[in-house]
């Protein structure tokens, strides 16, 4: 009756690794981290990387010996201890509360700290000058109808600040106050005002006697509009700088103890995997993993990205930023904060019919608003959402067809995807820009589209329409995919009855219409225009001007905002310099295909992009990518290329071309391993 465990696949080490490191990343740790305690040393980071590499190797070469649970159990216990200590510990720092005085009684939102909302922020030190205060509610340009190119708002707004810090005097002592601030500043010790600080520090700092025990310090600063914030406050008790706490409690545990537990988790995890590697290779009792390896590699890639998302976001938890003026990032964050505070983007302070259609793509702001609602106002929320969206890509790669390649190729593909994301997507994680959401949405929709083309079920086709609308309201370049995909549905599955193909196409259109309706209806009600975003008329003439010659005056030319005058302008531009326009269009296409050095400002060529283009096209032409999947991918590539030629591929770096090269990367993997269904599908 005894079951032979020796032939079971041994994926337990990987599961334990993902668990341990995800837990390390997301559980509260030392006091100064909202999500996490440790900032990894080089040795720790190397251990983490080596562990994941070992785990992936174990998926391919699995030891026949059964894996024991005890090691994972000890890790889990340490993680629980760590999380518990991290939660009950008391941070050092001031409890800062911030209020905007004008133009309205402001709801300033909350701050995310330790996975919860708080109406205050923990500031380790009272040393701020100018924009260093970095308050997130200053990004509410939309709510207060301010232009996005307004000067720094910390200066232009009237603000009040209050910081509270508790300290424990070990004996009767003398408190010395070193403080200076712009505006009016009062410093209170318990119930008594002990100093009034001005812009200059007094030569002799105020001194006041304190009794042994806990005392509350309060620093209150009011800064008028037009004055940059500047606050400095330090306190000595019997000649020693004090560390304040936001509550009347001493820290419960030493940060060193927490770090020790962290090190223990890392050490134990590393030891477990090294031990299993030795078992696997020294004993030569290994078995080859196939599909399991690919699925686990996808899971591991998601785990790596999820852990990475939290790790890059963690330092920004409890930290907020006044985003720099101008550009899209402030608009998307401002709109998200507007949704958070005022609800859907309907009235915007205007009567129906007197508004404007969406200029910025609405889905990103709605999604970001949901994340802000769940995780708070910290800048970490933006980074977490962007990186978490990228964490869906390994699953979409797997579902799109990677799962049908050989196990080793799947693992290689996931590693290549991680490297690609690290090199190209990650640089945009810190900014609220739509592409971080657009790229995974595109791949989700491509997965749906390939599945719908195989099944020809109406429900699948309906979902493709919904996905297309979601992508298009995140970046309108995807609008053209709709037409390209309908052509594929009507033409490609030639073995399917024409009525089935027509039904499928109708279902795609129905899904698209239903999903797009809320946006179009909003624009129709508010602006009298039944469009999803601002009219394409705006983009066509602009796209005929080289980016180096484009001026803000031209972009605001009233002729751009009506179809007849806009097309007239476009015709004039083409006739004035037909060769110049032809080169510009060619340049846009070449840039999109990977010649990034053709972008404005002479950026560097990124060599892997043209290489991926060549490999991807070769894979498509060779027929190694299954026919229906290939048809969907070609529909996307052609539609995206057409879209960026009609508009512009270069906005804020090269993020617009990333999905194209991810598709080429996916195709290129088929050159290494033929798809099992390639022959039948093609």
């Amino acid at each position: 009756m005894t079951q032979d465990h020796s032939t079971r696949p041994s994926v337990m080490p990987l599961v334990a690794a993902v668990f341990a490191f995800a837990a390390l990343a997301v559980t509260p740790g030392a006091w100064d981290g909202a999500f996490s305690g440790v900032r990894y040393s080089s040795l720790q980071a190397a251990t983490l990387v080596a562990t994941f590499v070992a785990a992936l190797a174990l998926c391919i070469f699995q030891p026949r010996r059964p894996t024991r649970w005890r090691g994972a159990g000890v890790i889990a216990a340490l993680v629980v201890v760590r999380a518990g200590l991290g939660i009950v510990d008391v941070p050092a720092g001031w409890r800062g509360e911030y209020t905007m005085v004008t133009p309205a009684p402001a709801k300033v939102g909350g701050f995310a700290w330790r996975l919860a909302h708080h109406p205050f922020r923990i500031d380790p030190d009272l040393r701020f000058e100018g924009a260093e205060l970095d308050l997130q509610f200053l990004n509410d340009y939309h709510r207060y109808n301010r232009p996005t190119f307004a000067p720094p708002r910390a200066t232009s707004q009237a603000l009040t600040f209050r910081w509270i810090g508790w300290f424990e005097a070990p004996a009767d002592a003398t408190l010395e106050v070193f403080a200076a601030a712009n505006g009016t500043t009062e410093i209170w010790l318990d119930q008594a005002r002990v100093a009034v600080a001005g812009p200059a520090q007094p030569p002799d700092p105020p001194r006041v006697a304190v009794h042994a025990g806990w005392h509350r310090l309060t620093v209150m600063n009011s800064k008028p509009a037009g004055t940059p914030p500047s606050v400095f406050a330090r306190f000595l008790v019997d000649d020693r700088p004090i560390d304040v706490r936001p509550w009347r409690r001493a820290p419960w545990v030493s940060g060193r103890l927490l770090a020790g537990v962290d090190h223990g988790i890392v050490a134990l995890g590393g030891a477990m995997f090294l031990w299993h590697m030795v078992l696997a290779f020294a004993g030569a009792a290994i078995r080859r993993g196939g599909r399991t390896a690919g699925a686990v590699a996808a899971m591991a890639a998601v785990g790596v990205l999820a852990v990475g998302a939290v790790k890059i976001a963690a330092p920004f938890a409890n930290r907020t930023y006044e985003l720099r003026p101008g550009d899209d990032h402030l608009a998307y964050e401002g709109l998200a904060r507007h949704i958070l505070a005022e609800g859907v983007l309907m009235p915007e302070g205007k009567a129906p019919g007197a508004g404007t259609p969406f200029y910025f793509y609405p889905l990103y702001s709605y999604t970001l608003a949901a994340f802000h609602l769940a995780l708070g106002d910290s800048h970490a929320t933006i980074m977490l959402m962007n990186a978490a969206a990228a964490a869906a890509l390994p699953v979409f790669f797997w579902a799109l067809g990677l799962r049908r390649l050989r196990g080793e190729v799947q693992v290689f593909g996931q590693v290549a995807l991680l490297v690609f994301i690290w090199r190209h997507n990650a640089r945009y994680f810190e900014s609220p820009v739509t592409d971080s959401l657009f790229i995974p949405l595109v791949f989700g929709t491509l997965v749906l589209a390939a599945r719908a083309l195989r099944s020809m079920r109406l429900s699948d086709a309906f979902l493709v329409g919904c996905g297309t609308a979601a992508c298009a309201t995140t970046r309108p370049s995807f609008f053209l995919f709709m037409g390209a995909y309908l052509l594929v549905v009507l033409w490609w599955p030639r073995t399917t009855a024409i009525t089935t193909r027509l039904g499928s196409a109708a279902a795609v259109v129905a899904g698209y219409t239903v999903a797009l309706a809320p946006v179009v209806l909003r624009n129709w009600i508010m602006a009298g225009q039944a469009v999803a975003v601002v009219s394409l008329s705006h983009a066509i003439p602009i796209s005929l001007v080289p980016p180096e010659a484009l001026t803000k005056e031209f972009q605001q030319d009233p002729r751009l905002f009506a179809w007849d005058t806009s097309l007239q302008l476009a015709r004039d531009l083409i006739l004035a310099d037909p060769l110049g326009v032809a080169w510009l269009e060619t340049r846009k296409a070449l840039f999109t295909l990977g010649l990034t050095n053709l972008g404005p400002g002479q950026p560097a060529l990124i060599p892997e992009f043209p290489l991926l283009t060549l490999l991807g096209v070769a894979a498509l032409l060779s027929g190694r990518v299954p026919g229906r999947t290939a048809a969907v991918l070609v529909a996307f590539l052609v539609s995206h290329l057409a879209a960026v030629v009609i508009a512009y591929p270069w906005t804020y770096g090269y993020k617009t071309i990333i999905p194209v090269h991810l598709v080429f990367l996916f195709c290129a993997l088929h050159l290494v391993s033929r798809h099992r269904e390639a022959g039948a599908d093609a």
Binding site: F178, G264, A271
Partner: protein, 111 residues
């Protein structure tokens, strides 16, 4: 498993001991550049704190990268007051008289 548990304990102990004997660090309390030229006390406190907080020793250079010139054409003095985290010796003061020209340095230590 025993060896693993031992490894964990060693790691925890070594990490806990790693912080022992950490060097003292300083915090800047006030820094004034050009009081001799009528500048307000503490006019460069934030800049000096930015440069030296959490370190020791700290060499504070009077250069445009650290301190902007508040009164061109006037011979300026420089004063910085700081304290060490350990509380050793209380608030300390370094004063450079009027010849505190660009390029001069102030040494802040916690010895």
């Amino acid at each position: 498993m025993r060896s693993m548990s031992a490894a964990v304990l060693v790691a925890i102990a070594s990490a806990s001991l790693a912080g022992c004997g950490r060097a003292d660090t300083l915090v800047v309390l006030r820094a004034t550049y050009g009081a001799s030229c009528g500048q307000a006390a503490g006019n460069v406190t934030l800049a000096a704190a930015q440069a030296c907080d959490g370190t020791a020793p700290c060499t504070l250079s009077i250069t445009p990268a650290v301190l902007t010139d508040p009164a061109e054409g006037c011979e300026k003095d420089f004063e910085v007051v700081w304290a060490c985290r350990s509380g050793q010796a209380g608030a300390r003061r370094t004063y450079l008289p009027k010849e505190a020209t660009l390029g001069a340095t102030a040494q802040l230590t916690c010895d």
